[in-house]
């Protein structure tokens, strides 16, 4: 392996080649698709040179009912992709759709649940008020709203604490509020951005259990993560992004070469990281979690 291998694009199975979801491509439309997405950032200073390419020609599709892992080292373009898919950042070129609607159309987010990496909620509100606010935005009828909020609160086991301001919560409790708000509209697609980042082992286990439960309920989950072990446990398919380009896409088994025993080994090979030749890889091993 080494430098030569690291620059090789690993052939990845197309959706029509008979893997777990391959058969769907002909009959079922993808829930989420990106076609040739390119995102460029203008330099912040005049000395910064030309535009920085954060994402280059990303094409992928996520089908109903699958758990899709979106992997890549720091700076690979995962967050940029998430930002484009959620309409935060407009793509320089290319197109992204969710449920067939352009991601810039707010109605495309009607059936989405989004859990950000860190807890970003109005700290002066109680969990109950926050969930009511989001329920209103989802247009949940008033008659069902309170019941839906109660269910979400019970699901994440917030209990009486739901009536306290969020600023009084521990980090774990805030993450539970995040999960509750992501589920308040009973979404068909969940987009989770580093859902286990910064959580203790119990919190990670709970999130993993939640993803598995959602999978059983037939929900589609699209999540980015550094936790390769976790991805290996729950994902049907993964995409590996490196330096803004898609390096691999497919079921985990298809990405493994003979002799590789874990996703981590496959991941490191695909992104061209070799521990003995640090100069061959522009990223530091420290930036890879687990």
């Amino acid at each position: 392996m080494g430098l030569v291998v690291s620059c090789r694009v690993v052939p990845w199975p197309r959706a029509s080649t008979g893997f777990a979801f391959g058969h769907m491509s002909g009959t079922i439309k993808p829930i989420l698709s990106a076609e040739n997405l390119r995102v460029e950032y203008r330099p912040t200073s005049r000395k910064g040179g030309g535009p920085k390419v954060a994402l280059n020609g990303l094409t992928l599709a996520v089908y109903p009912g699958e758990v899709f892992g979106f992997l890549g080292p720091n700076g690979a373009g995962k967050t940029t992709t998430m930002n484009v898919l959620l309409g935060f950042t407009p793509p320089t070129s290319g197109r992204a759709t969710i449920f067939g609607s352009d991601v810039r159309d707010p109605s495309s987010r009607q059936r989405i649940g989004y859990l950000p990496e860190l807890t970003y909620y109005y700290k002066f509100l109680t969990a109950f008020e926050l969930l009511r606010f989001y329920a209103k935005i989802f247009g949940i009828p008033a008659a069902q709203r309170e019941q839906r909020i109660e269910e979400a609160i019970q699901l994440v086991e917030l209990g009486a604490a739901a009536r306290r301001p969020i600023r009084t919560y521990s980090k774990g409790m805030q993450q539970r509020v995040g999960i509750a708000q992501a589920l308040i509209n009973n979404p068909d697609l969940l987009i989770l951005d580093e859902p286990t980042s910064g959580l203790d082992p119990i919190g990670r286990m709970e999130v993993r259990r939640l993803i598995q439960r959602l999978k059983k309920e037939g929900k589609t989950v699209f999540f980015s993560s550094h936790e390769l072990g976790e991805v290996e446990t729950v994902c049907d398919r993964v995409a590996i992004l490196f330096q803004g380009e898609l390096k691999a896409l497919g079921p985990i088994a298809s990405l493994m070469s003979p002799g590789e025993t874990s996703l981590e080994q496959a991941f490191l090979r695909i992104i061209g990281f070799t521990p003995n030749e640090e100069s061959a890889c522009p990223i530091s091993p420290l930036s890879l979690a687990s």
Partner: protein, 258 residues
């Protein structure tokens, strides 16, 4: 509309839970009552100086509330990243902006109502009269003023990154318009040349915020303004406020969040 009202309700809840308005109301009441306790030549009926001080404090407080409430909305959402989960919901950026405006405006109107009730009671205890129509006119014009200032500040908040720079610029502009607004044309005539032409453009193009300040009429017990004048003021404020909000929505649509 439900999206807009939902966002507005969060803005109002935030203001209710912050201490700013209570502090300003308390300070206004305290300073006014302290001045009311001053004995001028043993005459307890002297009222107008007290009305003037009270209204001046109300105006300063309302300006502070309107500017700082509106100025922090978008930047603080961006800074605390609460904008991410919000915009990941089926809500357009224009709806977020309009909801922010509605929330700021209603919050200002509600706090102003408390200030004006205090003023009316104070005035009645001194002068023994309740010119309700005059007070309603003054209150409504003041609300329109706060709406205009809030919309302008929201527009500034998507142009300027720092809350402080936006607030400073808006406060300077509002202060200048209140003092100079109706004189710009006279100054332009006196100045002449390019500077005069620019001042004249400003006179016709900038919002005349001083129209909404009828404190002197209230203080000196002038008769109420004709209602058709109030209607014209309302249309004027809605037109300018609408323009500012349209610009703010347009700018916010192109606002990259990452």
């Amino acid at each position: 509309m439900s999206h807009i009202s939902a966002v507005a309700s969060v803005v109002i809840l935030e203001m209710i839970r912050r201490k700013d308005v209570y502090v300003l109301l308390f300070l206004t009441a305290l300073i006014t009552l302290a001045l009311g306790a001053v004995n001028f030549f043993g005459d307890p009926k002297i009222a107008r100086y007290l009305k003037e001080v009270c209204l001046a404090l109300i105006w300063v407080s309302s300006l502070v509330i309107a500017v700082f409430t509106a100025a922090r909305q978008i930047p603080s959402e961006k800074e605390s990243r609460t904008l991410f989960p919000l915009l990941a919901k089926p809500i357009s950026r224009a709806q977020v902006m309009l909801g922010k405006f509605l929330g700021c405006w209603l919050a200002c109107a509600a706090s102003l109502a408390a200030f004006y009730v205090f003023f009316a009671i104070l005035s009645a205890t001194r002068e023994g009269q309740w010119p309700v129509a005059n007070y309603v006119q003054a209150y409504w014009l003041h609300c329109l003023f706060c709406g205009l200032v809030a919309s302008l500040t929201l527009l500034g908040s998507v142009w300027f990154t720092a809350v402080s720079s936006n607030a400073t610029i808006i406060l300077a502009f509002v202060g200048a318009m209140l003092v100079l607004g109706r004189h710009l044309h006279k100054v332009a005539m006196k100045t002449g040349g390019l500077a005069g032409n620019l001042l004249d453009v400003g006179y016709y193009a900038l919002p005349h915020l001083e129209w909404f300040d009828v404190r002197d009429l209230i203080i000196h017990n002038w008769p109420r303004i004709d209602w058709d004048v109030i209607a014209k003021d309302t249309l004027y404020a809605f037109a300018y406020g609408g323009c500012f909000l349209a610009l703010a929505c347009w700018r916010f649509r192109r606002y990259a969040i990452h």
